[in-house]
């Protein structure tokens, strides 16, 4: 089989796939974001969240936060691979979806798990490191969500905006550590998540190989 077409050849797989992806990507991502919520809501109503439904909701919204964050971090390497610059809009979409899920995750923790008991929550954040780190991860995402608009990009300027949005690496690390420390003993799943993020971080360096910068 011929390797994926080099930029020099004529109609590559990229060119053929581009219109399909361009049309389908946003509806697909909307489905990806909506379906977990619908599934959780249905399971909640039907009483199928197991013996500890609050914990299950926290775990599910936490997992989806990390999955969507990984998705948003996958966009940049995907663009350097496909050279579909227009995919950049999906990065913002996935970033905001991440923020929606992390907000839901935190809301369940505050409003359902702890029923707005402020002193319990403050104590938990101060005393228990995995909660501290999780809260830090959330706070790091707040300025990114706020400055996700075109207006803010203009106001900050591309360079400063990019610098600010590097906070996402810190937030992702905090998210992974939060998951790792939340698990009592069998760390397989959080390690798997962390491995995905490490790969996504590493792909950025691969994409910066000399000679590729000209595009």
């Amino acid at each position: 089989m011929a390797p994926a077409a080099s930029p020099a050849t004529g109609v590559s797989w990229r060119d053929r796939a581009a219109p399909v992806v361009k049309r389908g990507v946003r509806p697909a991502l909307w489905a990806l974001v909506i379906l977990p919520i619908v599934s959780m809501a249905v399971r909640l109503v039907l009483g199928q969240l197991g013996a500890n439904p609050i914990e299950e909701l926290e775990h599910e919204t936490g997992r989806w936060t990390l999955r969507l964050l990984a998705g948003s971090l996958a966009v940049t390497p995907l663009i350097s691979f496909t050279r579909w610059g227009w995919l950049i809009a999906q990065r913002r979409f996935l970033g905001l979806a991440t923020f929606a899920y992390v907000s839901l995750h935190l809301s369940i923790y505050i409003g359902v798990d702890n029923f707005f008991n402020v002193s319990d929550i403050v104590e938990d954040v101060l005393k228990h490191l995995y909660i501290t780190v999780g809260m830090l991860g959330f706070l790091l995402l707040v300025p990114l969500a706020i400055t996700s608009t075109k207006g803010w990009i203009k106001r900050l300027g591309g360079k400063r905006w990019n610098q600010l949005h590097r906070l996402v690496y810190l937030a992702a690390t905090a998210g992974c550590v939060h998951f790792l420390w939340a698990v009592k003993k069998d760390k397989t799943e959080p390690i798997l998540y962390a491995a995905v993020f490490v790969t996504l971080f590493a792909l950025r360096f691969v994409g910066r190989k000399p000679g590729r910068q000209s595009t």
Partner: protein, 310 residues
């Protein structure tokens, strides 16, 4: 002679099944309500559970639904997810089942589980069950006082501790095919703890034979301690004069003590022990010292610093 102690939780305090089976709808509705209330958190103010609990008389001691108690299990020998043991233990064979009596006993020997329990009383005990992960249940056990079993084992007077070991058989216990814990699982009690009338070896729950995922055919129940002390699938009882190594204490001694008495004042490094979520209920409830059994057990620890001996 065995004098039957009064049940810890009076049957009059127990909610009939018809009332608690609907609780999921309540949890669902309450969850939706709380989510809605996120828009106006200030309006709700502090938790309604502000009042300090009295030692007894918690109105929350309804029996946990059998479905929840048999589908939400920490039994790493059958997987580390709480839903896994029910599935992975479903074909686990517990007959025949031998138990080795070893260490400082007059006559070390191995006997069938039926022989070990023969002619001993089987009692109904409704106990609170508090997991170190800050959730709890109320479970109706059928079991035999541990002190009666120990008498049958005939330990030497010099024995100071009793150690229990879970079956090690990775083919039958698939969780043991991975090093999730150093196998086999071990737990132990000081001799006076083991002789306390609250401690039982359970062979049944909810009036039925003990389900595999809950530790069949025989498990330890020590309701004033965190759940991980309640070792399941016991194949060996050993008496010793040295404090034995116990599994969780051995791998993370800063998180799990040898005694592991329920204590709301001593936090686990990663989570608070001040409150617990009773499975099937929405609001967390305060955790009681010794899980509410202080009257029966606290004297055994008189003079000990419970912050150090957690």
């Amino acid at each position: 002679m065995l004098i039957r102690r009064p049940e810890d939780i009076k049957s009059s305090e127990i909610t009939p099944e018809s009332m608690y089976v609907d609780r999921r709808q309540f949890v669902g509705a309450a969850g939706a309500l709380a989510l809605g209330a996120l828009i106006a958190p200030a309006a709700l103010g502090a938790s309604p559970l502000g009042a300090a609990p009295t030692d007894r008389g918690r109105q929350d001691d309804k029996i946990t639904s059998e479905e929840d108690a048999t589908s939400y299990n920490n039994y790493y020998e059958f997987g580390t997810d709480k839903e896994e043991p029910k599935e992975l233990a479903k074909n686990f064979k517990t007959k025949p089942w031998n138990i080795e009596i070893a260490g400082m006993v007059k006559a070390p020997r191995t006997m069938g589980v039926d022989e070990l329990f023969r002619a001993l009383p089987v009692q109904d005990k409704i106990y609170r069950h508090r997991c170190v992960e800050a959730w709890s249940m109320v479970i109706p056990w059928q079991g035999t006082p541990l002190k009666d079993i120990i008498a049958r084992c005939d330990p030497l007077p010099s024995a100071k501790f009793v150690e229990f070991t879970t079956l090690f058989d990775p083919r039958r216990m698939p969780g043991q095919q991975r090093p999730a814990l150093p196998w086999p699982y071990k737990e132990a009690l000081r001799m006076d703890e083991a002789m306390n009338p609250l401690a039982i070896l359970a062979t049944g729950m909810y009036g039925k034979a003990l389900p595999n995922q809950n530790g069949a055919p025989v498990r330890l129940v020590v309701p004033w301690k965190y759940g991980f002390k309640g070792i399941k699938g016991i194949v060996k009882i050993r008496f010793t004069d040295q404090m034995p190594k116990t599994t969780w204490n051995d791998i993370a001694s800063s998180e799990y003590g040898f005694y592991a008495n329920v204590n709301p004042a001593v936090d686990h490094p990663r989570w608070s022990q001040a409150k617990e979520r009773r499975i099937g209920q929405f609001l967390k409830i305060p955790t009681l010292p010794f899980n509410g059994y202080a009257e029966q057990v606290a004297s055994m620890y008189a003079g000990m610093d419970l912050r150090k001996n957690y």
